[in-house]
Symmetry: none
DNA sequence: GTGGTCTAGACCACA
DNA sequence: GTGGTCTAGACCACG
């Protein structure tokens, strides 16, 4: 999944650091040139992978590394 | 409530006809110069008055007159 | 709705008695760990259910049972 | 009026510049050690004097000098 | 890509 | 010093 992989890679390479907030989902949709639904699916996948944590009404944040 | 009354008046004068779809709530917010939440309240009021019907994921439509 | 249900239950079990005043909405927001607007919605719901009565400038009170 | 005069003086001496936002009214009440109502009265006076402009939901701002 | 719920916090109306 | 309305903008649920 392009969006999820792109963000995941940015986390791996340190471009996105734990605790930092991602751009809003609607903005991501626009900047990636994909639909909002596609971004939502990508975020869901990243949450399930433990890469990000979403907080309703606040934003989506890069997760703290658990114990990897 | 300015937004609700304005839309209600447009329905009364026939500018908005039963079955027609309103612009998206976010667009209404921008065009009326109010915040999204204010539009949400206005839509809620119009729904309770029976002026419009909202369909999740599809849009908000001018209601058919009930028993006029 | 968590806040509304919690208060409603406290009324049902007699922990909150008719006529008693709820804590201020801002305090409820803090103690429930939700935003002020969420408490406002909950209070609106409770008012519509007839569980509480709000008096502008004075507070929100547990309603007297109507015809129980 | 102590609060109004204090803020007005801060504007005159340039400590508060046109366009800058005042602290929230509740915060002003606390920092001046007065009641919220007292701050509201002070703000009203400052608005009438043309010293500040309040915007609902956004804040209270030091007014631009008109044509003095 | 819409409507729906939420965070966070501002000023307003009232007694 | 309370309840009430608003700004600004986030994520969520649904087709």
């Amino acid at each position: 999944m392009a969006v999820a992989d792109h963000i995941s890679a940015a986390v791996d390479t340190g471009k996105l650091r734990p605790g930092s907030r991602l751009p809003p989902e609607r903005e991501l949709a626009e900047s990636y040139g994909v639909s909002y639904m596609t971004v939502r699916r990508a975020m869901k996948e990243l949450r399930e992978r433990g890469v990000v944590v979403s907080v309703h009404g606040k934003g989506t944040f890069i997760a703290e590394p658990s114990g990897d």
